[in-house]
């Protein structure tokens, strides 16, 4: 590599949301022709960092140097002018416009007037489609497109204006093997042209496949930045991602005390449930059991959890609680059936940001506090229940009347858990329960789940964190592309087996 200026230098980037630090003094350097992989657990801050680089978000502190020039703030348009392009995880497209119009969003030919038909036979677009071997109908409306087609549209948009920096954020997830290979060769070609590539992926094998350098983020901090060739294999990388503490704590008490399961009754049974992103799912949870559903991002597990909870409508299938068939049309029905859900999107679905901790905790079970004249709420009772839960879960907050939005991610999650404890549910589902949460709180959560299970409740955990699943589950289901492909007892499961199933042949190859 010639001695030249780096394309991008991010110095001491700090980003906060509602007073919570999601990026803490992050540094990253990108050279021309370098493929720089950015890895880390769910919620570590990778996408936020890239959003800052592409101008969508502004940092609270830090410097952004591009081609040797310093910027304290970039707008998306400026980033585009500078040749920085981000291909996001969730395609940012307008449903009611055609593929071609979306490709040219922000980049229409002509300053004011233009000929709409030009969009459909643009040479550059056609060339890219041809080279990549894509099959894409430019006239199709985005709402009618498959996930893969949407991703392709985003890709073409980025390549259209000869970018100098391209950011791939979990691009390969919805694509077929052949398309993934096309992406990989595209990235290699970009490298040869001197374009800098930042590649975000959950797939460690991809890092070893094409990466030159890798940066590991954990809880908003950079753990390490190293050339890929200096890594001693996958274990070292995993070690950085997952952290030392977990390695030691892997002997979680849960594994030791295995009580006879056969005698336990089945609490929740899901039979042949089909919905938006999943097909023919059957699983069950017994009393006192923690069942894990392991699947990567996009495997349909969130949709499954939300459907069981009544937030989404199923196409077919049944749900039984203690053998009785349930008709769940809304979360209200699920709550009545004593099922709870700790959703993945904590800020949008898990907590009500502008309400107090206390109100958030008692909301689903509010009816039981109607003590005064059988209609009015007893503040005293609410206070005592809330305070005892805050104590039990060690929720850090100035007072129970503080608005939830001021709490850290981990404490917000504790509030959500407290909410379901207060409602005394029988089955608790959790979707990515420790996403974006610090280590200490993570283990508080695991301990709590263990306690709850011991009380005889059933717990269903949906997670893409293989260590988490292994640590706390009694039984594990593997979910791939919307289907349950395997069920196994904890003693039969280990890391390799699970990752193998989830990632398929790609994993085995590496």
């Amino acid at each position: 590599m010639k001695a030249e200026r780096p394309l991008v230098e991010l110095k001491n980037i700090v980003k906060e949301f509602y007073g919570v630090r999601v990026l803490d003094n992050v540094n990253l350097v990108l050279w021309p022709g370098e493929i720089h992989c950015l890895v880390g657990h769910n919620g570590a801050g990778k996408t936020v960092l890239m959003k800052i680089l592409s101008g969508v978000l502004q940092p609270e502190a830090g410097e952004i140097w591009i081609y040797g020039k310093k910027f304290s703030k970039i707008t998306p348009r400026k980033a585009k002018e500078l040749g920085i392009f981000r291909i996001p995880q969730d395609p940012e497209l307008v449903d009611d416009l055609t593929v071609a119009e979306n490709i040219f969003m922000g980049d229409l030919p002509g300053k004011v007037l233009f000929n709409p038909t030009k969009l459909y036979n643009d040479e550059r677009v056609l060339k890219i489609i041809d080279e990549m071997g894509f099959k894409l109908d430019l006239k199709k409306l985005i709402r009618d497109c498959s996930r893969a087609e949407k991703q392709m549209a985003m890709l073409i948009r980025g390549l259209l204006r000869r970018p100098r920096v391209v950011i791939f954020d979990e691009t390969t997830a919805p694509l077929s093997i052949r398309e993934q290979r096309a992406i990989m060769s595209l990235i290699k070609k970009l490298k040869m042209q001197g374009v800098g590539v930042i590649y975000i992926s959950h797939r460690i094998d991809e890092v070893f496949n094409i990466g030159d350098t890798v940066t590991v983020l954990r809880n908003g901090k950079v753990v390490v930045t190293k050339p890929v060739k200096d890594l001693k294999g996958m274990e070292e990388l995993v070690y950085y991602i997952v952290g030392e503490e977990i390695a030691q704590e892997l002997k979680f008490s849960r594994n030791k005390q295995r009580i006879d399961e056969e005698a336990r009754r089945v609490l929740l049974k899901v039979e042949n449930l089909s919905g938006d992103m999943f097909e023919d799912v059957s699983l069950n949870v017994r009393e006192g059991e923690i069942v894990g559903v392991f699947g990567v991002v996009g495997s349909g597990k969130t949709e499954l959890a939300e459907t069981i909870f009544g937030w989404r409508k199923p196409k077919r299938g049944e749900i039984y609680l203690r053998g009785k068939k349930l008709k769940i049309n809304s979360p209200k029905d699920a709550i009545k059936a004593r099922i709870g859900l700790v959703p993945e999107e904590r800020d949008r679905l898990g907590v009500i940001q502008y309400m107090s901790v206390s109100d958030n905790i008692v909301l689903p079970s509010i009816a039981r506090f109607k003590k005064v004249l059988r209609t009015f709420l007893s503040m005293k009772e609410i206070r005592s229940v809330v305070r005892s839960l805050i104590r039990r879960l060690k929720i850090v907050t100035r007072s129970e009347m503080e608005q939830v939005r001021f709490l850290s991610g981990g404490n917000k999650q504790k509030v959500v858990l407290a909410k379901w404890l207060a409602s005394n549910c029988d089955v608790l589902m959790l979707d990515e329960p420790t996403k974006g949460i610090d280590i200490a709180t993570k283990f508080d959560v695991y301990r709590l789940l263990d306690e709850i299970a011991r009380e005889g409740k059933g717990i269903l955990v949906f997670s893409s964190d293989v260590d988490e699943i292994l640590m706390i589950s009694d039984r594990i289901y593997c979910m791939v592309n919307g289907r349950i492909v395997r069920e196994m007892e904890h003693r039969d499961a280990n890391r390799d087996i699970l990752l193998n199933i989830a990632l398929g042949e790609a994993y085995v190859k590496a």
């Binding site: 592409s54 998306p76 922000g106 004011v112 007037l113």
Partner: protein, 341 residues
Amino acid sequence: MKKLTSYFFIKILYRIFRSYPAIPFIVILIIIAAIYEPAFLTPDNFRSIASYISILGLVTIGMTFAVLLGMFDLSVGGILCLTATIYCIWYMGYYYLYLPGPGTIMFVKELNPVLPEALILLGVLLIAVALGLINGFVIAHFGVPSIVTTLGVLILSRGLAWTLSGGNPLYTIPDYIKYFGQSTIYGVPLTFLFWIIILLLTGIMLNCTTIGRAIYQVGGNPEAAYAAGVNITSTRIIAMGISGLMAGLAGLLMVGRTGVMHPHYGMGIELDALAAVVVGGISLQGGKGGVVNTLCGVLFLGILTNMMNLMAIEAITQYLVKGAFLIALVLFERKLEVRTG
């Protein structure tokens, strides 16, 4: 062979009806009107409908711009009124100004209208645009919901209009405007042709200009548009500015058509425009719809109003019909969406 063509024909009809749900309603309405009111099918009546439509139509075009972006403009009636009032007052040469004091004192100020016609016209329209831009700025820059912002501008502009005119009707309207407002070409009112031209221009703008496409992009998915580098703030401001301009044009056309400026002009037109937008098939959430929808909606509302006028239903009673109609419309639009969406 015959079966094939009829099948084909039905398929096209079905497609048209799906995209423009107002069309069957318009047809039904025309049939009902023709049966109950013999006066409906006369060329005179059509002229009257066309005249009314041109005014409502302009305002509705403005409303379309707003709705495509997910915003609403309640101030159109007020801007219409103020534009027309200032225009007339300029030619009148004086206006009223109420000042607080022991009792109400009215000051009458003299004005000197020795400016070229075009300049006055331009000036008045500029005021209309300015009000629209104020709407846009408060909405786009401060993030205030469009409903309450435009409500504020509505009250402001109508109040200002009534202040200046003293609440009195004004009669000083230049001849050329009256000529424009009242003449016809081969029986078709000039104002109607004017509106059709504006409608076509709007269609071209929405489909073939950057700003037009930006409107659909921002209306369809603001976050995506922002990330792609589209300037959502200026898109919104421009759209509201256009809405203001349309309202101003409508005001001028109105005084041209009737030859007098009544203080209550524009009252309730926001209801009509909103109903027209919804009935024409433009989604209130933004990003969907075009000028054909606007055309259908305006046609429908124009015919409906005309029908009620022929049946001698008073304006206030018409409110009842139109208000209930709007509620029903919004209800069915949503129910339809849920089923197909």
